[in-house]
Assembly symmetry: C2
Homo-oligomer: 200 residues x 2
């Protein structure tokens, strides 16, 4: 064994993190040696806290330290607009943009017959219940443009289409700053389909 | 605050690691949520253990969980050959190569007048004491080829040159697989200077 046992162990834990290989894990573990004592304590506590304190919001399914997440309990937000997303990472992305003032519903998955994931295996039933309680509900489906994403989008649309729910999806199109020449044909086709009238 | 408090804290600790930026720290922290409970416990314990258990070997200055490191207490190694290195990372590199069977001496720094680091500020006095106890000592100076490295190499050479100590340094030269055309001129010059007779 080249490394002292405790260092070897720490290297192995760093290796469990995504994108961290052998060489990088060694570097991280060695750098940990130079951490201040209080930082080591804090780091170890933070690891445990994240696992112990964070659970799912009982309304939207997003990560939260409380029974109801800060977004669902924020009365200044519009609770009639629900953005339906695949996982909590999307919530963080939307919140970083900071322009969305509705609430969310985290599906924790997408319908995928190939993987035996049906509508009952994702957080859909609670969405139906939520929407039923609202007066003029609006759903924004923000799911990715894969087979699973499209299937789930269509499924949700079917559930709500006769229930007087306004349903939209995110627009497809050209990413900002991208060269049109280098765009894949499907994206270009979608951008053409989703074209928007230029207002004066 | 976009992230739950405990997640935000963990992200900040990951950001303290070398080469881990904001985006990457978020990714690592979120992936930690999917760790098994025992892995979180183990990770937290490993962090503390590395800081609490690891100290410097009282002979060579290398990292060790014991008073004397496994290398210094290994009787099958040649204790008359001491490889002098800047820091413990070099020990791990040499041990990975696996072809060196002498022992080490970790300087924990290099002489650098510009940074006010003199011979007394690095782990040199104990090297002199170690060498005095040996019969036919051999020193291999494995320091980097910077001004500080060269200065330290020359200084050590001066200390020992009249004391019947065989002193060598690592050879400079072309890295394996490198294209000669693309080599910097200093390396090429050193490779010429350190040229080796081709034995039959």
């Amino acid at each position: 064994m080249i490394y002292p046992a405790s260092l070897e162990k720490l290297i192995n834990y760093y290796k469990k993190l995504p994108g961290i290989g052998e060489k990088n894990a060694e570097r991280l573990a060695l750098s940990t040696l130079n951490f201040k004592d209080e930082d080591i304590e804090g780091f170890a506590t933070a690891l445990k806290d994240v696992k112990n304190k964070i659970r799912k919001c009982s309304i939207c399914g997003h990560l939260s330290e409380e029974e109801i997440c800060p977004i669902c309990s924020d009365e200044s937000r519009n609770h009639n607009i629900i953005c339906v997303i695949e996982d909590y990472k999307s919530v963080f992305s939307f919140e970083k943009v900071g322009n969305y003032h509705g609430v969310y519903h985290v599906l924790n998955g997408l319908i995928s017959p190939a993987d035996n994931i049906g509508p009952d295996n994702i957080n859909l039933a609670s969405l139906v219940k939520r929407v039923e309680k609202l007066k003029n509900p609006e759903l924004i489906l923000a799911l990715k443009s894969t087979v699973e994403g499209e299937t789930t989008t269509l499924y949700i649309k079917k559930i709500f289409e006769k229930k007087n729910v306004m349903i939209s999806r995110l627009s497809y199109g050209i990413p900002m700053g991208a060269e049109i020449d280098y765009l894949d044909i499907i994206t270009l086709d979608k951008a053409l389909e989703d074209r928007k009238k230029i207002s004066e």
